[in-house]
C-alpha cells in the first residue's frame, strides 16, 4: 500500500526538514528508553528509601527544614534549622518524596504512555475508519445515523467521558511479565511486570475514535465520486472490493497524519487520567506529576522531570505528524519529490 513514490516523497521531505529529523530523533530516544528501560534505568523505580528522599538533581541544591531536639542544660530544646540536601551522583535527576529515583521512574513511565498512546490510537483508528468509511461510502440514511451518533460523542468533553467510562467499568489492568527481566537479561531487581492499563486504553480509544470517523467519512465522500470507483463498479466490483481496494488506500494519508496528532493527544489524556488517579497505573508520567504536585514549592523536580518528558514526546510526535503531512500532501505527490 506504500508505493515507491510515497517513500521517495517521505525521504526527500525528511532530507529537507530539520524539524522532521528532530522529531524522529526525539521519538527514537523515547521508544528506545521505553523498550529497554530495565537495562537503562539506574534503579528499581519502585524502590523506596526515606533517608534519601527529595534529593535534588545534579547541579542543584535544595534546603530542607529539619527539626531536631537536643538536651541543653537539662531542658529539651527543639531546634528548627535549614539543612542543605546534597545531590548524589546515584540519583542524577533526584529522588521523590519517598526516595524513589526520578530518572528511573521517568524511563519506566515512558512505557505506560507509549503503550496507551499507540494501542489506544490503533483501536481508535480501526473503529473510526470503519465507521467513517461506511458512512461516507454508502451515504444517505446510514451516513445520517452514524454521523449523528458521532456528533453526540463529540459533544462530551473527552476527559469527563473518559472518567465516566472508567467509573462504569472499573480499572481493569493486566500485568505482563517483562521479557527482559524474565529472561535474565536485565537485573532481577527491576520490576517483574509491565502493567497494561486495559480500561484506559479502551477508554481513550472510545473517546477519540470520532475524529477518525469524521476525517475518514470526508475522504470516502470525495473518493466515492472518483471515476476509478465508478469504473470498478462498472466492472462488477462489490462494495467490499471498492472499499478495500480504492476507498481505503486513497483515504489513508490524512488519517495517518491525524493519527500522529492523536497519539500525542492520547498520551496527554492518559497523563490527565493518571494525574487525577483514574488510570490505576502507578508508574506513569501523569501519576508522577500528581505525586510531585504537593512538593512543587520545595522539590520542583519530582513533577517537572516527567512533565518535560510529556512535552518532549508530544513535540516529537507532532513534528513527525508535520513531516508526514508535508510528504504525503497530494499537492507534491506525483512530482516524485523535488530536490
Amino acid at each position: 500500500m506504500i508505493s515507491p513514490r510515497t517513500l521517495r516523497n517521505l525521504r526527500s521531505e525528511l532530507s529537507r526538514s530539520l524539524l522532521a529529523k528532530l522529531g524522529i530523533a526525539i521519538l527514537a530516544v523515547i521508544l528506545f528508553t521505553a523498550l529497554f528501560a530495565p537495562l537503562l534505568a539506574p534503579h528499581d523505580p519502585t524502590d523506596q528509601n526515606l533517608d534519601n528522599a527529595n534529593v535534588p538533581p545534579l547541579g542543584f541544591t535544595a534546603t530542607e527544614n529539619q527539626t531536631t531536639s537536643q538536651m541543653v542544660d537539662g531542658e529539651v530544646q527543639i531546634v528548627e534549622e535549614e539543612v542543605v540536601v546534597n545531590t548524589t551522583a546515584e540519583h542524577p535527576l533526584g529522588t521523590d518524596s519517598l526516595g524513589r529515583d526520578v530518572l528511573s521512574r521517568t524511563m519506566f513511565g515512558a512505557r505506560t504512555s507509549l503503550l496507551v498512546g499507540l494501542l489506544g490510537t490503533s483501536i481508535a483508528v480501526v473503529l473510526g475508519v470503519t465507521v467513517g468509511i461506511t458512512a461516507g461510502y454508502y451515504g444517505g440514511r446510514i451516513d445520517d445515523a452514524l454521523m449523528r451518533f458521532a456528533d453526540v460523542m463529540l459533544a462530551f468533553p473527552s476527559l469527563v467521558l473518559a472518567i465516566a467510562l472508567i467509573g462504569l467499568w472499573g480499572q481493569a489492568s493486566w500485568r505482563i511479565p517483562d521479557p527482559l527481566v524474565a529472561l535474565g537479561i536485565a537485573s532481577s531487581e527491576m520490576p517483574e511486570h509491565v502493567v497494561l492499563p486495559g480500561t484506559v486504553i479502551v477508554v481513550v480509544a472510545l473517546v477519540n475514535w470520532v475524529w477518525f470517523a469524521r476525517v475518514a467519512r470526508g475522504e470516502a465522500l470525495s473518493v466515492r465520486d472518483q471515476e476509478y470507483v465508478k469504473a470498478a463498479r462498472s466492472m462488477g466490483g462489490s462494495d467490499l472490493h471498492v472499499i478495500l481496494k480504492h476507498v481505503l488506500p486513497n483515504s489513508l494519508t490524512p488519517i495517518l497524519v491525524l493519527a500522529t496528532i492523536q497519539i500525542a493527544a492520547i498520551i496527554l489524556l492518559e497523563s490527565s487520567l493518571s494525574f487525577l488517579g483514574f488510570s490505576g497505573a502507578q508508574l506513569s508520567w501523569g501519576f508522577d506529576i500528581a505525586q510531585g504536585r504537593q512538593y512543587l514549592s520545595s522539590s520542583w523536580w519530582i513533577a517537572t522531570v516527567p512533565g518535560l518528558a510529556i512535552v518532549a514526546a508530544v513535540i516529537g510526535i507532532n513534528l513527525i505528524g508535520d513531516w508526514l503531512r508535508d510528504a504525503l500532501d497530494p499537492g507534491i505527490e506525483g512530482q516524485g519529490g523535488a530536490p
Partner: protein, 443 residues
C-alpha cells in the same frame, strides 16, 4: 440491418431535490431534475452510435444509467435480450463482463495508488479470471496492443501522459473481452493531436474485436470521425438520430442545424460567414420549457397560424415575451434610466425599452401590440403585459411536445414529420383557438 445489441426504451433518470426528511415535514414540493427524460434508441451489433450534445444535456447520466451505475427512475434497457435492470447474481455478473465503460477524465479514472498492471487486471481479479501470472501476461499483451510498452506495467498513473492514461483506461475496458463498450467522452480531455491517435486506436480495436460502441462526446468532428450513427441530445431528450452522413449533410432538427452551424470550418469562405450561434443558455433541467424543450432558443420557432411576421421579428418578440414572463425586466431601473422619477412620461418609458429590446423592424400591427404590452409594464402590471403578448404570439411549440417518430432518421420537431398523436395534438391546439384581434385594443 443487424440486430440491436442494446435497446433503450423510454429511459428516465430524475433527481429529486427537497427530498430530505425536513423538506417532507415542512411540505416543500419535491423538485425533479430531469437529467434523462424519456430516451429511446438502440445500438446495433458492431456499430458505433455517437451521442452528442452540449454540457449538461444528460449524456453522461445516460451512459451511467444505461450501465446501471445509477438506478433509473423509469424505462428499461435490454442487453442482448436481457433486461438490465432486472438482472441479479450470475446474470448481472455476466452483464458486467460483457459491457464495459471507458471514462472521460484521464486523471481521476485511474486509481493513483495502483500500477498500470494492477489497473488493467482489476476486472480480471474481480471476476476471478486466471492466475496472477496469467493476468500479468494479459496486461502486458494489452499494454502493447494499446500502443504502450510491456515494461511500463509497474509504473504508476502519474508517470504517464494524458493520452497514455486514456490508453490504459481503454486497456482496462478491454481486459475482460467485452462486446459492448460505453466510451464516455474518451478524448475530450486530450490535445487535438493525441485525440486522433486515441480515436484511431478505438477504431482499430473495434474492427479487430467486433466491438459495439456507444460513443459520447460534445465535439461534433470527433463524433463524425468515429460514428456510424449519431444521436443528438438536448436537455435530457434525443432530438434527432440518424446515420452520421445524413445528420451532418442534411440535419433536420433546428438544434442540430444550429450545432453544426456553430462549428468553425477550415475554409476561405469562413472569413465572411456570419456564424449564427445558438442564443442564450441551456434552460435548467429543473424547470424545462413546456412543449418542445428547444423552443426558448430555436431560430425556427413556429408562428401561430394567424401570424405572418418575419421570422427574425417573431423571434425577437418571443424572446422579449420570455423576459417579461420570467420577470427579467426591472421596471424601476428602466424608469431611472428614462430619468422620470415621478413615472409620468409613459411614452418615454415605452420608447426606451422598445429601442433596447428590438433591433428588427416590426410590422406595424406587431409594433402596436408590443408597445401596448410595454405600457402595461410601465404601469407595473407585468401579468397584463405578458398576457397581451401571450395571446398573440403563442407558438404551437410551447403547447405541443414533439416526439421522435420511428424510422431511420427521425427528428423531434414539429416542422418535420411527427407521430400521429403529436400531429393530432397540434391540430387540436390550432383548432381550439381563434385568431385574436389584430392589435384591436392597442390603439
Amino acid at each position: 440491418m443487424t440486430d440491436p445489441l442494446v435497446t433503450v426504451d423510454g429511459l428516465e433518470k430524475y433527481y429529486y431535490e427537497n427530498d430530505t426528511l425536513l423538506d417532507r415535514l415542512t411540505g416543500a414540493e419535491r423538485e425533479a431534475v430531469r437529467a434523462v427524460d424519456g430516451v429511446s434508441f438502440e445500438v446495433r451489433e458492431g456499430e458505433t452510435l455517437g451521442v452528442v450534445g452540449e454540457s449538461g444535456c444528460g449524456k453522461s447520466t445516460l451512459a451511467e444509467t444505461l450501465m446501471r451505475l445509477r438506478e433509473p427512475t423509469g424505462g428499461s434497457v435490454t442487453f442482448d435480450g436481457d433486461p438490465v435492470y432486472e438482472l441479479s447474481g450470475d446474470d448481472m455478473d455476466a452483464f458486467r463482463r460483457r459491457a464495459q465503460v471507458m471514462f472521460q477524465d484521464p486523471f481521476s479514472s485511474l486509481d493513483p495508488r495502483m500500477t498500470a498492471g494492477e489497473i488493467i487486471t482489476e476486472p480480471l481479479a474481480i471476476h476471478g479470471v486466471g492466475t496472477g501470472a496469467e493476468r500479468r501476461e494479459r496486461a502486458e499483451t494489452l499494454l502493447e496492443e494499446v500502443g504502450l510498452s510491456a515494461d511500463q506495467i509497474d509504473r504508476y498513473p502519474h508517470e504517464f501522459s494524458g493520452g497514455q492514461r486514456q490508453r490504459i483506461g481503454f486497456a482496462r475496458a478491454l481486459a475482460i473481452d467485452p462486446e459492448f463498450v460505453v466510451l464516455d467522452e474518451p478524448v475530450s480531455a486530450l490535445d487535438v493531436s493525441v485525440q486522433a491517435q486515441v480515436l484511431n486506436l478505438l477504431a482499430d480495436m473495434q474492427a479487430e474485436r467486433d466491438l459495439t460502441y456507444l460513443f459520447i462526446a460534445h465535439d461534433l468532428s470527433v463524433v463524425r470521425h468515429i460514428s456510424d450513427r449519431v444521436a443528438v441530445m438536448y436537455l435530457g431528450e434525443i432530438v434527432e438520430i440518424g446515420p452520421t452522413e445524413e445528420i451532418f449533410e442534411d440535419p433536420q432538427h433546428p438544434y442540430t442545424k444550429a450545432l453544426l452551424e456553430s462549428v468553425p470550418r477550415a475554409d476561405t469562405d469562413e472569413r465572411d460567414r456570419v456564424v449564427e450561434t445558438i442564443r442564450g443558455d441551456v434552460p435548467s433541467p429543473r424547470d424545462p420549457p413546456s412543449g418542445c424543450s428547444f423552443r426558448t432558443r430555436c431560430p425556427e420557432l413556429i408562428q401561430p397560424p394567424w401570424l405572418d411576421a418575419p421570422q427574425a421579428a417573431f423571434r425577437e418578440i418571443s424572446e422579449f415575451r420570455t423576459r417579461i414572463e420570467n420577470g427579467d425586466i426591472d421596471v424601476d431601473t428602466r424608469w431611472e434610466q428614462v430619468g422620470d422619477p415621478d413615472r409620468e412620461d409613459r411614452a418615454a418609458f415605452v420608447d426606451s425599452l422598445y429601442a433596447e429590446a428590438f433591433d428588427e423592424d416590426l410590422p406595424d400591427d406587431d409594433e402596436g401590440t408590443v408597445r401596448e404590452a410595454i405600457r402595461a409594464l410601465a404601469d407595473g402590471d407585468r401579468e397584463a403585459a405578458a398576457a397581451t403578448l401571450r395571446e398573440r404570439y403563442r407558438s404551437p411549440c410551447e403547447a405541443v411536445d414533439p416526439a421522435l417518430p420511428a424510422g431511420e432518421h427521425p427528428s423531434a420537431c414539429l416542422l418535420n414529420e411527427q407521430p400521429d398523436d403529436v400531429e393530432a395534438a397540434r391540430e387540436e391546439w390550432e383548432a381550439d383557438r381563434d385568431a385574436p384581434g389584430v392589435g384591436a385594443s392597442s390603439r
